[in-house]
Symmetry: C2
Subunit: 339 residues, 2 copies
C-alpha cells in the first residue's frame, strides 16, 4: 500500500475481482440493465412470507452465486463484509448466518458496497486475507415499509424521490486472478450539507460525493479523463446534476464520462421511478452486473466506482435533523499500473 495525499491509497498487491454476482427484483428486470443480472425474480417475495426474509434470501443466494462463480471453496474465504438498509442490518446477518465465514457487518447506508470493497481490499493488501466476499442488498418493499409509508397506502412520491432497488450484488476479491483489480481507494468522510428533505437524498449526498471525488483527484493526481467511466452509487437524476455543477465550480468537468448507477438501472420515463434508483443494492447490482460485464468485454479498462450513502433514519428526520452523506471511491482497472 502506498498512501497518497490526505486520504487515498494505491494498493501494493493485486486485489483481483475474481467474480461478481447480482440478483434483482421484477422492476429491475424490466429496466435497461436487464441483460446483465445473473438472476431476476418474478416477484418481491421469492417464496418467502415476508419482504425481510426475501431480502435475506436474495443476499444469501447472491453471495453463494458469487462464490460458485469464483471457484474458490467457501472454506477458503477469510472474511465477509456485508451490510444493508434494514434496521440492525438483518438482511445480511440472517442471510449469511449459515455461511460459516468470519463476518464483519458494516453500515454505510447506500455506500455500503463501496465500504465493503474498501475494507475487503485493505485486508487483502494487509495480508490478513487471501479471499474475501463483499456484499450489499436492499429491497424496495422492506425499505418503503421501514423508512416511509405502508405500501398499501399507495403514497404519492415527490419528483426528487428515488426508488429503492430490490437486489443484491456480491464480489469475491482475491490475491490471485487476472483482473480486473481494485487499484486505489479513497475512503470518505461524513459531509452534511444541511439538506433536510428525506425525499431528496440525491441532493443530501451530492456534497459527500464531491468531497470524496475532489479528494481522489487531488490525492492521486488523476483527472476525470483518466477513467473510462466514473459512477456514483445512487445520486439519481437530481443528485447527478448537482454533482456535475459542484465539480464544475472546482474546475473539474465530469460530464463526458460520469454517470450514476441509480440513473442507469431504471428507465425514468417508462418506469415511473422519478429521480432514479437507490439503496445498497443499487450500486452493488449495477457494478456486479453491468460494469463488470463491460470489463469482461474490454469496453471499460478504468472505472471509478463511488457508492454514496445518506446516513439517516426516520427518527432523525422526524426530529428535524439534516441528512449527512458519505461516499467511498474505489478505482477498478483491467491492469495494475501501480504494481
Amino acid at each position: 500500500m502506498k498512501k497518497v495525499g490526505n486520504q487515498s491509497y494505491f494498493m501494493s498487491k493485486p486485489i483481483n475481482i475474481l467474480s461478481t454476482a447480482c440478483i434483482v427484483g421484477p422492476k429491475e428486470k424490466d429496466g435497461p440493465l436487464n441483460a446483465y443480472f445473473d438472476q431476476c425474480l418474478e416477484d418481491e417475495f421469492w417464496g418467502e412470507n415476508s419482504w425481510e426474509k426475501a431480502e435475506s434470501k436474495i443476499i444469501k443466494e447472491t453471495v453463494n452465486t458469487a462464490i460458485a462463480k469464483s471457484k474458490i471453496a467457501s472454506s477458503s474465504i477469510d472474511f465477509v463484509f456485508a451490510g444493508d438498509l434494514l434496521n440492525q442490518c438483518i438482511s445480511s446477518s440472517f442471510g449469511l448466518r449459515e455461511s460459516n465465514i468470519p463476518f464483519f457487518g458494516i453500515f454505510g447506508a447506500c455506500s455500503t458496497f463501496g465500504e465493503a470493497l474498501t475494507l475487503g481490499s485493505m485486508t487483502i493488501d494487509g495480508d490478513f486475507a487471501t479471499n474475501v466476499v463483499c456484499a450489499a442488498s436492499s429491497h424496495f418493499c422492506s425499505a418503503e415499509k421501514q423508512f416511509r409509508f405502508p405500501l398499501e397506502l399507495g403514497n404519492q412520491r415527490a419528483p426528487s424521490s428515488q426508488w429503492t432497488v430490490t437486489g443484491s450484488g456480491a464480489a469475491v476479491l482475491s490475491k490471485d486472478g487476472e483482473g480486473p483489480y481494485v487499484t486505489a481507494i479513497t475512503p470518505g468522510k461524513i459531509v452534511d450539507m444541511g439538506i433536510k428533505d428525506a425525499n431528496n437524498m440525491g441532493a443530501a449526498m451530492a456534497g459527500a460525493a464531491q468531497d470524496t471525488l475532489l479528494c481522489h483527484f487531488k490525492d492521486t493526481g488523476r483527472n476525470p479523463s483518466y477513467y473510462d467511466a466514473i459512477f456514483t452509487g445512487d445520486l439519481g437524476h437530481v443528485g447527478k446534476d448537482i454533482l456535475i455543477d459542484l465539480m464544475e465550480t472546482k474546475g473539474y468537468n465530469i460530464k463526458a464520462n460520469y454517470n450514476d448507477c441509480g440513473v442507469l438501472i431504471f428507465d425514468k420515463e417508462q418506469q415511473d421511478t422519478h429521480s432514479g434508483g437507490s439503496g445498497c443494492g443499487c450500486s452493488a447490482s449495477v457494478f456486479c452486473g453491468y460494469i463488470s460485464h463491460m470489463f469482461k468485454e474490454g469496453k471499460y479498462k478504468k472505472v471509478l466506482l463511488m457508492p454514496t450513502g445518506a446516513l439517516m433514519n426516520s427518527t432523525t428526520s422526524q426530529q428535524g435533523e439534516s441528512i449527512p452523506g458519505i461516499a467511498h471511491a474505489v478505482a477498478i482497472e483491467a491492469t495494475c499500473p501501480n504494481l
Copy 2:
C-alpha cells in the same frame, strides 16, 4: 501479521492503545465501576431534547476525549470505526459527522467495539493507518424505545433480560506508543443456537462466544490460564454461566479468570438490572474505563476481550426468527510477545 490456525492473527506491528475514554449515564455512575469512567452524566438527556441526540452527543464527546488524551491531532487520525444499536447507526454518524475523519460505519450489535478494534488493528498492521479511533455507544432509553416498549409503560422485565448501558467507549490505536497492545485477534463467525427469546440475549449469544473462544485457544495454542482475565461483552449472568458450562464440555475450565462486562457494570442486587448490562456501550465503556485502568496499574498484563452481539431486530422476533450471535476476540497485552 501472522495467521494462525483457521481464523486467528498475531499482529506483526505494535498496535498500541494510546488512549481510551468513556462517558456513561446515571445508572452506570451508581454501579460498582463508577471510579473508572471519565465522565458520568446526571441524567439521560445531557441537555439535548431527545435520547437519540443525547446518545450522539455521548459518542461525540467520548471520541473527542479519547483523541484529546492521546495527544494526537485529529487531523493525524486516518480512520474512525464506529457503530451503535440505533436504526441505521445514527448515533455514530450524527455524533461523528463533524469529525472530518474518514469514517467506516460498522454494525456488530453489542460486539461492535470488538469489531472496531479488530478492523482498526488490521488497518494499522496493514500499513493503511498510523492512528485510528474505535468507538461504540448505546443508550438505555433509545434502545428500550426502539427494541422493546415505551419507557412510560413501566413494562415488567424478565429475570433473564438485560439492561442496556447508557454510555460510550472510544480508543485511539496507534503504531507508536508504549502499550498496552492489541497482539492478536480472532474475528468471529455468526452462530445461531436457535434461541428465540428476545429477553434472553445472553443465551442467544453464548454459542457465538464459545465458538470464537474455542477457535482462539485452538488457533493460538493458548489456554485460558495464558490470560490474567477473559471478558465477554454482555452475556450477563445467564449467558456467563452458560458459556462456562459450554466451555467445560469442550475441556476448558474458564471459571478462574473469566468475567463478563455486563456482569461487572451493575450491582445485580442493588440496581434491579436482572441478568446485567448489555449494549454496544457495555464492553466499550468497561474496557475503556475499568480494564484500561487495570493495565495502567499493572494489575493486568494479558487480557482477552470478546465483545458479543445479538444480530436481530424487533421485526425478526415478530416474524418468529431465532437470534444469531457473533463474538470477536481481541488479545490485549502489556508487552508484544510475538514481535
